[in-house]
């Protein structure tokens, strides 16, 4: 009797983990995106990065798993690591956005890297971005191109603490 109950409970648990998320709101509808921008480039600079704030309004952990944009040939999710005194920029599989919390993409940290820009980005232009989350849902946004000197005045940047 007890084992029967236990297996039933087990099956229920399995059922709920397997099917419950589908019944819930998609990741895209749970994530609020704010303050998006892409930095304008210096002459000869062929890469840039997009920054924004991802707010998870749901009780479930979500993750940004990819991004795309017509502005660049390659778009990747990146982070910066401080290792052995060097700043290492590395591609990441995903950027986590924990339940009821914010993940900031900011200078010196997570960013959406735009590699091989199709044309130089000038302040005032708009860069369309499609963000895809872990369940395949996505959000389309438009990020203004901003001069770096303007963003550094308003955005707190990630300070490195050495070792």
């Amino acid at each position: 009797m007890l084992s029967k109950f236990a297996s039933l409970a087990c099956a229920c648990a399995l059922f709920s983990t397997a099917y419950a998320p589908a019944a819930l709101a998609s990741a895209a509808s749970s994530i609020r995106i704010s303050h998006p921008y892409v930095t304008a480039v210096a002459p000869g600079q062929t890469n840039s990065a997009a920054f924004l704030v991802l707010k998870n309004t749901s009780a479930h952990d979500h993750a940004l798993v990819s991004a795309s944009s017509p502005a660049a040939e390659i778009v990747q999710l990146h982070t910066h690591l401080h290792v052995n005194g060097m700043m290492e920029m590395r591609q990441v599989k995903q950027i986590p956005i924990k339940a009821h919390s914010k993940t900031m993409l900011k200078h010196g940290g997570f960013h959406i890297m735009l590699i091989h820009l199709r044309k130089p980005l000038k302040p005032g232009e708009q860069v369309p971005l499609t963000l895809t989350f872990e369940d395949g849902s996505h959000q389309k946004i438009s990020a203004p191109v901003v001069k770096l000197s303007d963003t550094l005045k308003s955005m707190p940047m990630k300070m490195d603490r050495h070792h």
Binding site: T39, V41, A42, P43, G44, Q45, T46, N47, S48, A49, I74, H80, V83, N84, G85, M86, M87, E88, M89, Q91, H107, G108, H111, M113, L114, I115, L148, S149, L152, M157, K158, M159, D160, H162, H163
Partner: protein, 196 residues
């Protein structure tokens, strides 16, 4: 009572020593190199011909290493450097030379460096050279960098991101960490300008 006093005194000493080591490590650009970087004279190529550190004797020199392919770290630091320099008086600006040295000489030509640095501050000079020359200058200043191959076939360069401040006599005087705000860079420059 006496024992607790003794223990707290010993603890204080240990903390002081540990703090000292921490401070040393904070001011130490590269854990691989022995001793603090020596700095020193060098000659590299600008778009307008060779430039040496000793060309700027009498001026305070701000030295930074990076590469134009860098999407975030270098443009951010160069922007902060530009903001710091712009915040100084014209008389102070005239006594400072900012220099950006590439650690990616394969892609960064002198011409490319010139156009790039001017975007951040009109007076900046961009320098390149052959890989051996760059490596020699980097070693002297404690700059560490290495190529990181990407799956896409391209490469990035991991690099240390310190700002080096050189006094009027060509001696390396200060190293500022990555992320130093424009106001801190300006303050350090002002301080060096006051020294003969």
């Amino acid at each position: 009572m006496k024992i607790t006093r003794w223990i707290s005194a010993a603890l204080a000493v240990i903390l002081l020593i540990a703090g000292g080591f921490y401070w040393l490590s904070m001011n130490h650009p590269s854990p691989n190199s022995a001793g603090a970087p020596q700095g020193g004279d060098f000659t590299l190529q600008s778009a307008d011909g060779p430039r040496s550190l000793h060309d700027f004797r009498g001026k305070v020199v701000l030295l930074y290493f990076g590469y134009t392919f860098c999407p975030d770290i270098c443009p951010t630091t160069l922007t902060l450097i530009g903001q710091a320099l712009s915040s100084l008086s014209p008389a102070q600006q005239a006594q400072i030379q900012g220099i950006f040295v590439t650690v990616d000489p394969a892609r960064d030509t002198a011409q490319k460096m010139k156009a790039y640095v001017r975007y951040f501050y009109p007076g900046l000079i961009g320098l390149t050279g052959n890989p051996q020359e760059i490596a020699a200058v980097a070693r002297r200043y404690g700059v560490v960098y290495r190529k990181h191959k990407e799956k896409s076939g391209g490469y990035l360069i991991d690099h240390s991101a310190f700002i080096y401040l050189i006094g009027r006599h060509g001696k390396l005087r200060r190293t500022l960490p990555h992320g130093a705000p424009a106001a801190a860079i300006a303050a350090a420059l002002r301080q060096l300008l006051q020294q003969p």
